[in-house]
């Protein structure tokens, strides 16, 4: 098969104040025509650097030290700026990670697309516009002829990414690069975008390179896979080979750590111990050796060979060839190679019978959308939207409840309302039996010791000027607790979250994502709370470390009998830690019940869509169709009947006219659907 793009021996350094970071070392792989190639790796693997190197758009402190990027007959690395510019957007185009920030907010889509076609001098402006409208229609934007004159902020996240794809394909490029194309999107949207990329690739015979950390996306979309670790390609091959017959210990470990693949929830999540190596230091031997389960003394000394077992399939490991080869490696697909830890501690039997720690019932939160004058002027009567609507939920001591929903579902608002950060308009919030809704802050403050929050952005929620020691003892100061030895407390807490002592004197920017998370956990735990509300506790963490945080949270729960309310959109993760799940849609809980039950037997069509919406890290389980289409409607146009009626595949007339009440089932299960599944 013809090779469209051939990357050979690419090495890139970044000059930083800490020294030269050797971000890419000797990266080589071909991209064959009409194939979808996935580059998979965790943060720091250099996967995005490869992408920007192809385009010649590396950061200013980057230096290409060797290699070539053959595209057709040209070497892009050594082509002049003018030649590169001619190729960008015309022959090679890009779909960006975050459609919210990668499209200029002050120009309409029409203007942006016209600009991309600026080289086509012989095409009239009207013709260019027609092309742009046609392409917007092709990527599934309804009414493209009028929406082309809108600005990016008029589009929802999913629609923006569709528009981003339309912009990338407008010129009919030979090569399409996609940088984490679904990372910023919700699960149901992700499925739609994957499907769209697949369809368009077929239709346009394009060659695509996708960069992602999402194994599900790679398995679902790609034909060939390149696995990167710390700046090296450690394994490459056809997608089935990678997912079913991985040769490199890192690839094996990565696959085993993906919670989407693990059905057995009785054990702790596997993790790859250690951290990605510091790339400013010179290395010897295998780059993965410090974290490898099968490390041998020689691995730290001798560079492993690239062992090719068939054309295009290779892995870089001593176990596969040479004097250190182990014929029994790799073990069969089902065998786990990463330490799986012990079984999770058994939940104390008292959980089910205990009095609820937190009891929310019929809670309503409204947001004002416009001032009274404007509402009068526009003749709008309802100037409030229901962000949280009739929500009832409880958390017992020692219990983990997962609150799952897509963006705009009101899950974060609910969390903030429970913590008395948002005023509620109706219903009740009881903590240990006492009503706390809309309690004045003066009276509520002592309660904040018992209810802690873990924030979504681990680094952003820490003051950059405070050391870790100061950060984790801050709660003592906020609550004016004297008579404790803060240094001792800091050490106790660091110990508790397994943060090594030297880290106490570091500052947030010196921490990795996982370490910053631990600091967040330590802060939440500082005052021995009874309830922790965790907003996306694993957001932004790599697969190999998110297990550590979740295992840590589980251990702490067992030791201290904590109640957790975990707010997340990540179903595979929440499946492993939550005892019960509440699924939210447009501010309403549409289904609630035991986690295992809910996964085995979803009753509400939305739950079913979410459960099936997660792309599986298995190329044999690709979905033929997208389970639900469309997008979450705006709160401003809440459907008259069932909130999900606009997207429900099983919708009937009654759903469109009438709002379903909450139906109680046995075993604490409830749902809001007229025609429950199963």
């Amino acid at each position: 098969m013809e090779t469209l793009l051939d990357i050979r021996n690419l090495s890139v350094d970044f000059r930083t104040p800490r020294g030269r970071v050797q971000a890419l070392r000797d990266v080589s792989f071909p991209v064959r025509k009409n194939r979808i190639v996935g580059i998979v790796g965790e943060s720091g693997s250099g996967k995005s650097t490869v992408l920007w190197a192809i385009l010649g758009l590396l950061a200013k402190n980057a230096e290409v030290t060797s290699g070539e990027v053959q595209f057709g007959a040209r070497d892009l690395l050594h082509a002049g700026e003018a030649a590169l510019r001619a190729a960008r957007g015309e022959e090679i185009s890009v779909v960006f990670q975050d459609p919210m920030t990668s499209q200029i907010p002050v120009l309409t889509y029409g203007q942006q697309m016209l600009d991309i076609l600026y080289r086509r001098r012989n095409v009239s402006a009207a013709e260019k516009r027609r092309l742009a409208v046609e392409m917007l229609g092709k990527v599934g934007i309804p009414d493209p002829a009028s929406r082309i004159d809108q600005y990016p902020h008029h589009f929802s996240g999913g629609m923006r990414q569709r528009a981003g794809i339309a912009m990338a394909l407008l010129t009919g490029p030979k090569l399409l690069l996609a940088d984490e194309p679904t990372t910023a999107l919700d699960v149901t949207m992700e499925a739609q975008i994957i499907h769209l990329l697949q369809e368009l690739q077929h239709e346009l015979d394009a060659t695509v390179v996708v960069v992602s950390h999402n194994l599900g996306l790679i398995a679902e979309l790609c034909d060939d896979v390149v696995v990167m670790y710390a700046g090296e390609v450690i394994e490459a091959g056809e997608v089935r080979e990678i997912f079913h017959n991985a040769q490199h210990p890192y690839t094996r470990a990565l696959l085993e750590c993906d919670p989407a693949r693990i059905d057995d929830v009785s054990r702790k999540l596997p993790v790859i111990p250690g951290e990605i190596p510091d790339l400013t230091r010179p290395r010897q031997g295998c780059i993965f050796a410090p974290r490898c389960q099968r490390v041998m003394p020689e691995c730290r000394q001798i560079t492993p060979p690239d062992v090719e077992r068939s054309a295009g399939n290779f892995a870089r490991c001593h176990l596969l060839d040479g004097p250190l080869a182990d014929p029994s490696w790799p073990p069969p697909h089902e065998v786990n190679t990463v330490g799986r830890g012990q079984e999770t501690a058994l939940k104390s039997a008292t959980v089910a019978s205990a009095e609820p720690l937190l009891d929310v019932s019929a809670l309503n939160v409204q947001f004002e959308t416009m001032g009274p004058i404007r509402a009068k002027l526009r003749g709008v009567e309802a100037r409030h939207v229901d962000a949280v609507l009739d929500v009832s939920l409880s958390v017992r001591p020692g219990e983990t409840v997962g609150l799952v929903g897509e963006s705009g579902s009101g899950k974060t608002t609910l969390g903030r309302t429970i913590l008395n950060l948002v005023r509620a308009q109706g219903g009740s919030v009881r903590f240990e039996g006492n009503e706390i809704r809309n309690m004045p802050e003066g009276r509520f403050k002592p309660l904040r010791r018992d209810m802690a929050m873990m924030f979504q952005d681990p680094v952003g929620s820490l003051s950059p000027r405070k050391s870790v020691r100061a950060l984790i003892t801050e709660p003592f100061q906020i609550h004016g607790i004297t008579g404790v030895d803060l240094d001792k407390e800091a050490e106790r807490l660091a110990d508790m979250v397994r943060l090594p002592k030297p880290f106490l004197s570091r500052y947030p920017h010196e921490l990795s994502g996982g370490q910053a998370r631990r600091v967040g956990v330590a802060r939440a735990l500082a005052l021995n709370p009874k309830l922790i509300i965790a907003d996306e506790p694993t957001a932004g963490l790599d697969v190999s470390v998110q297990g550590e945080i979740l295992n840590l949270m589980a251990d702490l729960q067992f030791e201290h009998g904590l109640g957790y309310l975990i707010i997340t959109h990540n179903l595979p993760v929440v499946r492993h830690i939550a005892d019960r799940l509440a699924i939210m849609y447009l501010g309403r809980i549409v289904e609630q019940g035991d986690t295992a039950e809910l996964f085995r037997n979803p009753v509400h069509p939305y739950t079913q869509a979410l459960v099936e919406g997660v792309p599986q890290p298995d190329p044999d389980r690709r979905r033929a169709h997208v389970s639900i289409s469309g997008e979450v409607p705006s709160l401003l146009n809440r459907p008259k009947g069932c909130d999900f009626a606009t997207r429900c595949p099983y919708v009937q007339d009654r759903c469109r006219g009438e709002k379903p009440p909450h139906y109680e089932l046995e075993g604490g299960r409830s749902h809001a659907c007229f025609f429950p599944l199963n």
Binding site: R85, A86, R88, V94, F96, Y118
Partner: protein
């Protein structure tokens, strides 16, 4: 957009009313009889009595205010106590000179400062960036009256390239223009520095945004990326600054107008204060303030026009 316009216009009108109220009550807060104050210490008792009657000073204060507002709305700002001419006419004679000076001063500063800031931001830490940085701080630090005096000395006195004082013969465009060069240079110089710094800072921020990388990834020409994309966003905070600077300059040209003996609002206010000619002070300050408010309003509307997010959020 319409609602936004109405809202902003209403707000501006309210501010102007507040200014009128303050200017009006100023006369009453100054100790002594308003007529004496208005006419100055040398006025005869008859003149004061005549003035008091003409000015409705025997009426209650609130009525006087209503009359004053009514007059202002009709364009009547009172009568100059010395020459007995209409204050409105006097101000209108001078305002053109000030506006011409401010527009040219700000204009050349924008034409030079904005591109300089852009170029400095495109190549940070280059020699151009460094020179721009040093010059910016330098020009900001030097007060405009010093620049005026030096410019006068060098270009008018020593080199004799340009006229030193006055505004030129009425009706002769070339002559007026040559009289404008030095004062415009003097008041604009520090704004070159301000604008270059401001534009550089916001350009640096915008150039790091993802959508700039997108534009480059789509192969747009670097000139298009810098001026068509980055500057379009980076200019927005600068427009606010220019609006406020423009408005401020209307009354701050006083140094340049005095040094170059140019007629204008600044000099008018200065002279009237010296002569205790209160109706003119009152009128001129009101006109200068209203112009300021108008320019700020205009710059806000310009921003709303350029940035759809601002336009729709209000």
């Amino acid at each position: 957009m319409l609602l936004y316009l109405i809202k902003r216009l209403g707000l501006s009108a309210a501010v102007v009313c507040l200014v009128i109220l303050v200017l009006f009550s100023l006369l009453y807060f100054i100790p002594g009889d308003p007529a004496t104050i208005a006419l100055g210490p040398r006025a005869t008792p008859e003149a004061i009595a005549r003035y008091a009657e003409k000015m409705h000073l025997d009426e209650p204060v609130w009525r006087q205010f209503v009359i004053y507002i009514g007059n202002v709305l009709q364009g009547d700002l009172g009568v100059d106590v010395f020459s007995n001419r209409s204050v409105t006419t006097i101000i209108m004679e001078r305002i053109g000179f000030t506006l011409a000076l401010v527009t040219t001063g700000m204009g050349w500063a924008m034409l030079l400062g904005i591109p300089l800031g852009c170029l400095a931001a495109v190549k940070p830490n280059s020699w151009l960036d460094r020179i721009t940085g040093v010059l910016s701080v330098g020009t900001i630090a030097v007060p405009s009256f010093l620049v005026s005096i030096w410019a006068l000395l060098i270009f008018a006195v020593h080199l004799r390239w340009l006229p030193a004082i006055g505004a030129g013969e009425p009706g002769e465009f070339g002559d007026q223009l040559s009289h404008l060069v030095l004062p415009a240079f003097a008041i604009g110089l520090s704004w070159v520095g301000y604008l270059a710094r401001m534009v550089r800072a916001s350009m640096l921020e915008v150039m790091g945004e993802n959508y700039i990388r997108s534009a480059r990834a789509f192969g747009l020409h670097p000139r298009k990326v810098v001026f068509g994309y980055a500057l379009r966003v980076a200019i927005l905070p600068t427009i606010t600054l220019i609006g406020m600077g423009f408005g401020g300059l209307i009354s701050a040209t006083v140094f340049a107008e005095i040094i170059f003996s140019r007629p204008g609002i600044g000099k008018l206010i200065f002279d009237s204060v010296m002569a205790r000619n209160f109706p003119i002070v009152q009128g001129a300050v009101l006109v200068a303030t209203s112009l300021y408010i108008f320019v700020v309003l205009f710059s806000d509307i310009l921003i709303a026009w350029l940035d759809p997010r601002v336009r729709e959020s209000l």
